[in-house]
Symmetry: C2
Subunit: 329 residues, 2 copies
């Protein structure tokens, strides 16, 4: 990836799970990296995520909802990896206005700022599989009907479409990746706000049973964070991607019960239990989901490389060593 | 429509084109009607639209963005016809934030207010064909991919989906009608902010040539406002509609050149000219469009009754008599 050498790169949500891992990769490739993060306690930002690269990045503690600050950060950047977002489906139902402000409103402000101060920037936006809702068929490709089942899905979709629109109408090169479940070192594990795998990791380390909602037979696909980062780097570096939306995904599809067993086997201890869906989660549950990621495979050459077994092993190891930076007892 | 007899009905955008015509119909059916309208000069509200029913309706001059005021108006209502919106595609590109505030943000506040103070209300939301973007096939049915070509389309879609989501998750009975070009007495004719037909009517009455962008061969369908109102009344009265999205439309499809000739024939004078698309309009133009409205026809029994010729005649007559209330020289 020589494309990023000596380039100026801004990452919103840069102290979060994916942002911080992306920053690490970009520094490796020779980029000048600036991170913006609100460090709001309910989101994914954690200063420990960049401890090893702290001297190599510029960090601003600022909220994407502060449009004038963001406009200043955007000036002079070559790339924007736009990752700041409210990710909790449940929170989006409890406080829909905040979800709208972050996932739609702030995205529009960012694009308007690009139009004014930096129309030559290239943007990669982190979208989500959540916008498809309950799948009509599997695996879900990008032509699948869009039918969000929660406020988060609607607002993320608006945010995604603003990016594609600004690409098409104003020529501000933008693309979007619809992420599936992403996991790895740096994810939020304090609770399930970012991914249910977070709270599973915490349960395992605390020797508590993993709680699976429903019968545990729901199918899912997962990307280890390094694979996800590779997709961001490839999408940023390619002009084929402009105006496009790509699914990420994995062909290693697994149900939640088997996933729990796989994690417990890595640990050689622990247990899981099946519990009924809490009603507020049941109404926004999407059933089985896994992605067709052939479009990005064919157009950009991306595919996931890291198996669940290896990825989960690395993840559990990381949190065993570092859990005190991710939750307090 | 005995369903509305003695029922309390709130209409947002109630002094606008469709809102005021709907109010007239609801009063006829015995409803107690309250109208909310911002009367902002750039939108469709016009107090003259309700001159003949002024004593039969309650009118509040208030903005849907004022969530606490709207919450108060919603209490005790049986029906909400939620029509307030920013309709100009071009304005949505020039001032995307305002479009977002009205078409998405305010809609979410309205639904949250319903959830808190009036979960038994029935809502019909005015959506738009604009969300489909450039059609892949014609006529466009509700399963057509959604691909908004402007900020307005994205925000209207978010607004529409919040309604369907609140129906599905919270049981707040809601449905949406995706309107095609609607015309008739009461539409904004000062400029083309609401519909291009508005400025055409004004041009005819002022003896100026009608300006058609492009080659004039773009196909469109049109609904006379009385037909459109009938769809709102039927959707409001039917529980089959809950959680559904219906296209309105017409099988009387016509290109813009023929439409101009039809209007000029009614007038027996005037002329039109073809002019190139202004670039800012070209980028958001959708080409040919007409709707498949079989879903609402089959499920609710709606279909348009009034021919273009008769509808346009009534419309031109209305504005010849009343134009001083719609623009000043």
């Amino acid at each position: 990836m020589t494309k990023y050498k000596s380039k100026k790169v801004l990452i919103t949500g840069g102290l979060g799970f994916i942002g911080s891992n992306l920053a690490r990769a970009l520094i490796f490739h020779g980029a000048e990296v600036t991170l913006v993060d609100s460090l709001s306690p309910q989101y994914g930002g954690n200063i420990f995520n960049v401890e090893d690269i702290r001297d190599s990045v510029t960090v601003y503690i600022s909220d994407v909802r502060d449009s004038s600050a963001i406009s200043g950060f955007l000036e002079g950047q070559d790339y924007l990896f736009n990752l700041a977002g409210q990710t909790s489906h449940l929170d989006s139902m409890m406080d829909p206005q905040t979800d709208l402000d972050i996932n739609a409103n702030a995205q529009l402000s960012i694009l308007e700022a690009c139009r004014r101060v930096n129309p030559n920037i290239k943007i990669v936006f982190a979208s989500t599989r959540q916008i498809y809702g309950k799948p009509d068929y599997l695996p879900v490709n990008e032509n699948h009907p869009i039918r969000p089942v929660d406020v988060n899905g609607i607002n993320k979709l608006a945010g995604e479409w603003y990016h594609i629109l600004y690409n098409n109408v104003y020529g501000i090169r933008s693309c979007a990746l619809r992420l599936t479940n992403t996991y790895g070192p740096g994810m939020r594990v304090k609770d399930s706000r970012q991914t249910f795998l977070g709270i599973w990791v915490r349960s395992i380390i605390e020797n508590k049973p993993i709680k699976i909602f429903g019968d545990g037979l729901q199918l899912r696909d997962f990307n280890y964070v390094d694979d996800c980062i590779q997709a961001f780097l490839m999408a940023g570096a390619s002009d084929i991607a402009n105006g496009k939306v790509y699914n990420l995904g994995s062909s290693e599809v697994i149900n939640l019960k088997d996933l729990a067993e796989l994690m417990l086997n890595i640990e050689t201890s622990g247990k899981y239990e099946l519990i009924p869906f809490p009603p507020e989660r049941k109404v926004i549950d999407i059933g089985d989901y896994y992605s067709d990621f052939n479009l990005i495979k064919n157009e950009l050459g991306w595919e996931p490389k890291i198996s669940l077994k290896i990825g989960l092993k690395k993840t559990l190891e990381f949190y065993k060593n570092n859990h005190r930076h991710y939750w307090s007892d």
